[in-house]
Every structure is written in C-alpha cells, then in structure tokens.
C-alpha cells in the first residue's frame, strides 16, 4: 500500500466548538488530569530546612535544589507589567531583574519517593517552583500551581499527587520590547495585486 494506512479522523474534524479551549485567567489555569500511571507523589518544600526535614535529599542536595528552583522561577515565573496586577493574583510579589513584577516562589517540588536512579538524577536534577494563587473569589484561591497554571493542590498539605508533566521544565517567559520585525517583505509584495483578485489581498507565501 502506497498510502497512509490509517488517519485519526477525530483529530482532523474541525466542527464548531471542537477546538474550543477554556482559558479562564491570564495564566491559563489547567487542572491536572489524574490518570493512573502518569501520577507522582511530591512534597512541596519552602526552604532548605524544610527540604532536609521532609525529603530524602541531604543538605547539600537541598541547597542546590533551592538555588535551581529560584533560578527557574526567575526564568519561567509569571510576569506582570504592574505590581497591582501581580498582587491581585498572587498577593506577595517582587520586582525582577528584568524590570517586571513576579510572584514570590512559595516552594518547589521534590518527588516523595526516590529510588537510586532518582537520587543520582536529583543531585543535578530539575526543581519546579510553585506559586500560591490568592485572587479572592477565584475557585483557585489558595491553590498551589506551577508557572504554566497547572494546579498542584490546596496550599498546606504534606504531599500532593500530580501528573508527571507538572515536573517538566516550563517555557521561559520574558518582556517583549518590540513586535513586527518580520513580515515587511510579504507586505510590500502583496501590494502588488496583478494576476489575482481585484482586492489585492495576498495569496499564499508558500509555493
């Protein structure tokens, strides 16, 4: 057979409402889907001391983890142009080195059970910061969440069950200083309207 054996038609359907995505807040909160095998139990620790007392990492590992989580918070954390915007969602905020406002990291996640492989991994591992959402009246009030808005659970529990994806690195967020630096050539060429519709609208820029 020289053609695709099977195509997932459900994914290809684009009926009305099929691709509707609900993003309730600026952060785009997503509630973690609790599957079976893809879940993991994690501790959320707020300091090096908390980390030493409540996880299987030792002091040196906890120090390193804390520093990594802080750096990660700087890189991926929610960023706001105004202090008031940040405070309305997260209460306590600070000014970042890049000149915008970011919530204080409430803590970072460490897996509850570490096997030997995990221990080795954790000596150079990745630690995701979490933030305490505190917009009054929101259904996410007092929930812990990662930088992409994935909810970990209510603040203050001794451990949390999360989807493994909650442990993945988050994309970096920054402050855009300029837009529109691409597209000028296409725009110039589309003013040429010959051979197409009288509207002069551009067709494909592919070929």
């Amino acid at each position: 057979m020289k053609r695709s054996k099977n195509i997932n038609l459900a994914r290809m359907r684009k009926g009305r409402g099929a691709s509707f995505v609900l993003r309730p807040l600026a952060m785009g909160i997503t509630v973690a889907l609790m599957g079976c095998s893809s879940d993991e139990e994690v501790k959320v620790v707020s300091s090096v001391e908390d980390c030493v007392n409540n996880t299987q990492l030792d002091k040196a590992q906890c120090e390193a983890a804390y520093q990594k989580a802080l750096a990660e918070a700087e890189r991926t954390g929610p960023k706001y142009a105004r202090l008031s915007q940040c405070e309305s969602e997260f209460g306590s905020c600070r000014e970042s080195s890049g000149g915008f406002w970011m919530p204080l990291m409430t803590g970072f996640m460490v897996a509850s059970l570490l096997n030997d492989n995990d221990r080795r991994y954790h000596s150079y591992g990745y630690y995701n910061p979490v933030y305490r959402y505190s917009a009054s009246g929101s259904r996410y009030y007092d929930r812990l969440m990662t930088a992409d808005g994935q909810v970990i659970g209510r603040y203050g529990k001794s451990s949390y069950t999360v989807n493994k994806s909650a442990m993945d690195p988050k994309p970096k967020v920054t402050k855009t200083v300029s837009r529109g630096g691409f597209g000028a050539v296409a725009s110039a060429k589309s003013n040429w309207g010959g051979g197409r519709s009288s509207s002069g609208r551009s067709g494909s820029w592919g070929g």
């Binding site: 020289k2 195509i7 967020v173 837009r179 630096g181 110039a188 551009s202 820029w205």
Partner: protein, 388 residues
C-alpha cells in the same frame, strides 16, 4: 497516466466544512476539483516518480554542501553575507528538516523532468496528505472506484512519524507555528501541520509572523511573551534575512523548521548548480546562470525564472533575442536563471504538473495541479489521483 472523469461526491462541500477545509474555492473559482482524477500504474509511480525524487533530493544535498563552502557561490545564490554563518552552522550541526516538494513535468512516459524544488515553504500539503486521501476513501466506500485502488500518499503518516523523531532530536522545547496574516490557505496548511505535531504528542502554539516580538536580549516571543525556542515558519528565509528581525537570527537559541540551510534549496540558482554537478541527468533540464548563457546557445527556447519567486510568478520565455512574459509578479530584483524549455504535458485542455513530496529524505506522495495556462500558479486547480 490517464485523466478520467468521475462524479463528485454528492455532499463533499459539507464534508469539507466538517473537516475545516475552507479554501477549496478561492476568489470565486474552484481550487479543489474532483470532477476528474489522474490514474497511474504502480510502475509509473515507483520507477518514474518515487525513485527519482529521492535521488534528486540526495543530489540537492550535495549542492548545499558545495555552495556553503564557496563564497562565490553564496553570492550567486544571493544569500546576504551577514547570514552565511547562520546557514553554515545549521548545516554543520545537521539541523533536521521536515518536508519539501519537487515539481516535475511528467506525462506518464519517459523521465520526469525537474522544474524546481520547493524546499522551504511548500503548500498544498493538507489537500495532499489528508483531503485527497479522504476523497479516495469515500469513493471506494461508495464503490465509485475499485476496491483495490491505491494512492501514492503516505504523507500524513510520514509527517506524524517525522514529528516524533523531531521531538526526540529537540528535547525540552515547545513548538511554535507561524504564517502570515490574511491568507486562509497558509493558515490551513499550518493548522494541518499542528494537527500532525499534536498527533505526535508535541506541545505546540501558533503566532502570526507579523506578531512575533523580541525581548531586550534578542529572544523571539509570542503574544503571551513566551520565549520561542523551536519554530516552524511558513515564510521564506530570503524574506526573513532582509527584514528588521533578521539581524537577530543566529544570535538567539531557536531551532527552525525548515532549517536555515533550506535557503540554498528553495533558491532557483539550485537548478543551474544541479546541471553543473550532474550534467545530462535524465531527470534534469539544462539550466544556466545569466552570465553563462553562451552555453545555452543550442537551445531555441529558454524559460527565464527569478532566483527568488513563489507560485510561478515573473516567468518568461526567451526565443533568441525575443522575451515573452508568461506571468507577472513582484519578483526578480535578485536576478534570474534560465532553464531549457520543456512544456508541461497536456491532458485535454489542461497542462498538468506533478508535485512530489518528501518528508525528510523519503518520497511520501504526489499532488497534481492543472491549469489552462502553461504556468502553474496559485489558482491552478488541484486534482486527486489513484494508482490502479
């Protein structure tokens, strides 16, 4: 290779609505045309299209390696000098490619002749990989075509598999897709690739080319201020090189689809280079740079093509000292190349072009375009095909 009439599927426009195929009719003219189809033998597909497609692709990669080592050639390809290292690095690093389309003049007999390589921003992908596949499926289901009908079209399967490979080669990054505003066709093509990437499990986003931003460090951003680290752009490299943000290329950590080295292949200067390296190859047409037209004296008719152009724009025919323009357009300021005249085959009143797709280096299927004119442009009709 035959052109055969067939009844349209009775409710195909509702079907198009169901699957979000919104550009089957453009500017009031039919673009997707299922009142007929082309029929090939398996031998024609495998020997005349599939094998030459992979062979020519390999030859094209030889050209890339040569050009990147030679500053004279980089100038001939009109690559701005400030981007040479950007392109060279992407080649040295082995940046992976996704797809491309070779356009052939093929009549069913004799060798298919290469017209050009759309290696950077090929379109008509959705129509090929999905929509003509569905057309065959529907027509076999309603017994309008024989049960054993097949199609040279593993494009979607190969794209999904390729995206799985690309995710493995690009760990820890989310993929941004981009195309220009105000073009339904390009947005449709990009949506299709997003569907294939999603099928492969890749987290992906969309941003219009015009909306891409940059931060103080020169990183590219989307409208959510997320830093772009991996991007598919349905937008020509030669445009990006010459635009304001072009100066940031190479200075920020982005993986690109198609990779920057594709700028050498989507360039019509490829054609005379292929002829220089593989003279007399059965699937190549004799082609020449503007300053070596003395070598073209034996050819009574030459086709003059801009080094950079899209959708068959700015083509003319040269007979001796006589230049006859076949299509106009906004291209040509970077110069032209010349290709020996070889007309498209005619089926009834239609000139027919065969587009042969590659996913990475594997031949993956064909698309057929028809025009009443000798030049295939963006309004040429798309017809499905079968193998029987």
């Amino acid at each position: 290779m035959l052109r055969l009439p067939i009844n349209e599927r009775p409710h195909w426009k509702e079907r198009a609505q169901e699957f979000g195929f919104h550009f089957h009719t453009m500017y009031g003219e039919p673009y997707w045309d299922e009142s007929a189809f082309y029929q090939f033998s398996l031998e024609q597909i495998e020997q005349d299209i599939e094998d030459p497609t992979e062979e020519i692709h390999a030859m094209c990669l030889d050209v890339v390696a040569r050009v990147l080592e030679d500053e004279t050639l980089l100038r001939r390809f009109r690559i701005p000098e400030q981007h040479w290292d950007f392109i060279r690095d992407s080649w040295k690093n082995g940046d992976p490619s996704l797809y491309s389309r070779l356009d052939f003049a093929y009549s069913g007999q004799g060798p298919a002749k290469l017209y050009e390589n759309n290696a950077d921003t090929p379109t008509s992908l959705y129509e090929t990989g999905f929509w003509q596949w569905l057309w065959l499926q529907d027509n076999v289901d309603r017994r309008a075509l024989p049960l054993q009908s097949d199609q040279f079209n593993s494009l979607q399967e190969k794209l999904v598999n390729r995206f799985r490979d690309l995710q493995f080669l690009t760990p820890g990054r989310e993929l941004h897709f981009a195309c220009c505003k105000d073009t339904l066709e390009d947005r449709g093509t990009v949506q299709y690739l997003q569907d294939c990437a999603s099928e492969a499990g890749i987290t992906n986003h969309f941003v219009f080319i015009e909306e891409i931003g940059c931060d103080a460090e020169g990183a590219f951003t989307d409208l959510d201020d997320q830093v772009i680290t991996w991007m598919f752009k349905l937008y020509p490299w030669e445009f990006m090189f010459r635009e304001e943000f072009g100066s940031l290329l190479g200075g920020n950590n982005v993986r690109w689809l198609e990779p920057p080295w594709k700028a050498i292949l989507s360039n019509k200067a490829l054609l005379p280079m292929l002829w220089k390296l593989f003279p007399g190859h059965p699937n190549l047409l004799p082609s020449f740079f503007e300053d070596e037209l003395d070598k073209a004296e034996g050819y009574s008719e030459l086709v003059k093509k801009p080094i950079f152009s899209r959708e068959g724009a700015n083509i003319s025919i040269v007979r001796g000292g006589d230049v006859h323009s076949l299509s106009d357009g906004p291209y040509g300021e970077e110069g032209f190349i010349y290709q020996a005249m070889h007309s498209l085959p005619k089926f009834g009143q239609n000139f027919t072009l065969v587009g042969s797709w590659l996913v990475d280096d594997m031949a993956a299927g064909i698309s057929i375009r028809e025009d009443s004119n000798l030049i295939t442009q963006d309004m040429s009709r798309y017809l499905p095909h079968i193998i029987l």
